[in-house]
Subunit: 299 residues, 2 copies
């Protein structure tokens, strides 16, 4: 999307429900993944962490032999980010202030805002084959259990007291176009929509909101969105996505592979736009961004 | 000392007043220095940290450009230790439990016990040339200011509520011989002596307590002990050391260089033993340990 428009015109509101305090460090996986990606510093093979990382701290931690401690990989240079964030938060800065500092250090033009400066913690009730239903943290589910376990429930702990970070509602109110990016609707977009005021703000701007379906031909390109939607009683299809976003968005972009579902999507009350959505490389990503930006919206 | 006797016969009670929460990590500099030294893993050039360290996390932290955050060097593998300690403490383990785990991982025979499992924080009032007298944390003084500033006061915050770790008083009560090692009497030994019950226990075992002077010919071999003793109104000599330890120890070992001060030391009520005390290498360290162990104590 950087190539399709001026990055300094973009404000990205990022999920923080995945954040975790790990060994004392405040880790913000979604903020960091977006930051490292936009800085072209991401490890492209894994999709997270920094390219060319070293793992000395992690190996040292694992040398203590406690398997419960080594499940979340922290690269050495990535740890520098977490040391910085933790230190600044302890010094009284808000997460959105620290995020602005971190993105400035990486020279990122896009403005990143955490959805809230308050603590929100996505909790996942999973069906553990040995102990039955148990609620665990999102990263325990996603990383620790390799999202390889059935989900029975989702809860955003702290959401009742969370307010949007400074600038979030203004960005929604003033944006020319609002894009709900192709990400897990339940655990990546869901927490953002659940922060007090954000759903209402999107609803008020619904005519300018375009969502891109993360589900293509019934599958998520990566991650557990398809299984999770099924497990949580949603239709793992563009129609299921349309139902989840119908209140917030007026347009849903679906992949060519789902062209046959246009009328089913539109029956949910959204206009359906069909185009290639698989971002297999920078050119495909740019083309998708241009599609998103060129859609004529209702006035 | 490992060579002079069976290490598993030794219990070492370690100062924790230098401990610091740094960027969210619980750092215990004295415990780690003793651990890494006994594991023969210490960086011998610096006297702290691990040999052969990498510094990726630190460089990443410094890349944010905030000079106030980079003053305390944390090597990548050393960070693994702090991640482990912080995680285990957050999980409800005591510092002495975690210390036992850390020394086990390094295969250390000596039993290390932190002086207390409670938070004690050595605070240093320094005469800042620009802002006047100001109280700072010990590591800020020692590392951040390179102990290159006059000390006006010392305070062990939390000492009133601190109790000895499990095993400390038992070790003192049951030891054949108790050694106050050659370390800074005010900020390395001082906090240990200030923990409730430890001074009394040493006093009761005074006939078995040997102190080794860290001051040789009026100078500390390294660190600011000599200046600090002067600044705090103590005589920076073996006589000043004798005064500080007279209640706890019955013997003070002084270096050959201080042979002329034997009678002045003994006037303080301790027996004075003269021998080489400079541990310039393992053989010299072993010889000193043998001297300490071979002294005939009063019954």
């Amino acid at each position: 999307m950087i190539d399709a428009t001026d990055p300094t015109d973009i404000t990205a509101v990022i999920n923080t429900g995945d954040d975790i305090i790990l060994h004392g460090l405040h880790v913000s996986p979604d903020l960091d993944t977006v930051t490292y990606t936009l800085a072209d510093a991401i490890n492209k093979e894994t999709g997270w962490g920094l390219a060319g990382e070293t793992w000395e701290a992690m190996e040292s931690l694992r040398a203590f032999g406690d398997e419960r401690l080594g499940w979340f990989n922290l690269g050495d240079r990535d740890i520098g980010t977490h040391l910085y964030r933790t230190s600044r938060l302890a010094g009284g800065r808000s997460l959105s202030e620290v995020t602005a500092e971190i993105t400035a250090r990486w020279g990122i033009g896009v403005r990143l805002i955490p959805m809230t400066d308050d603590r929100v913690e996505t909790r996942v009730t999973v069906a553990d084959p040995t102990v039955g239903e148990v609620e665990i943290g999102f990263q325990e589910y996603f990383v620790g259990r390799h999202h390889d376990i059935a989900v029975r429930g989702l809860r955003f702990d702290g959401i009742d007291r969370a307010v949007p970070s400074p600038g979030v509602l203004e960005a929604i109110n003033e944006a020319q176009r609002i894009v709900i990016c192709p990400s897990n609707p339940l655990v990546s977009i869901g927490p953002i929509l659940a922060v007090s005021g954000i759903s209402d703000a999107l609803h008020a701007r619904r005519a300018s909101v375009v969502a891109v379906s993360p589900i293509i031909a019934g599958r998520a390109l990566k991650g557990p969105a398809d299984r999770m939607m099924n497990e949580m009683g949603h239709d793992a299809s563009v129609v299921g996505v349309a139902r989840l976003y119908a209140a917030a968005a007026s347009v849903l972009i679906v992949d060519d592979a789902d062209a046959a579902l246009v009328s089913a999507v539109e029956a949910e009350g959204l206009r359906c736009v069909v185009c290639p959505t698989v971002m297999s490389g920078p050119m495909e990503a740019k083309a998708l961004a241009q599609s998103v930006l060129s859609i004529e919206m209702a006035p």
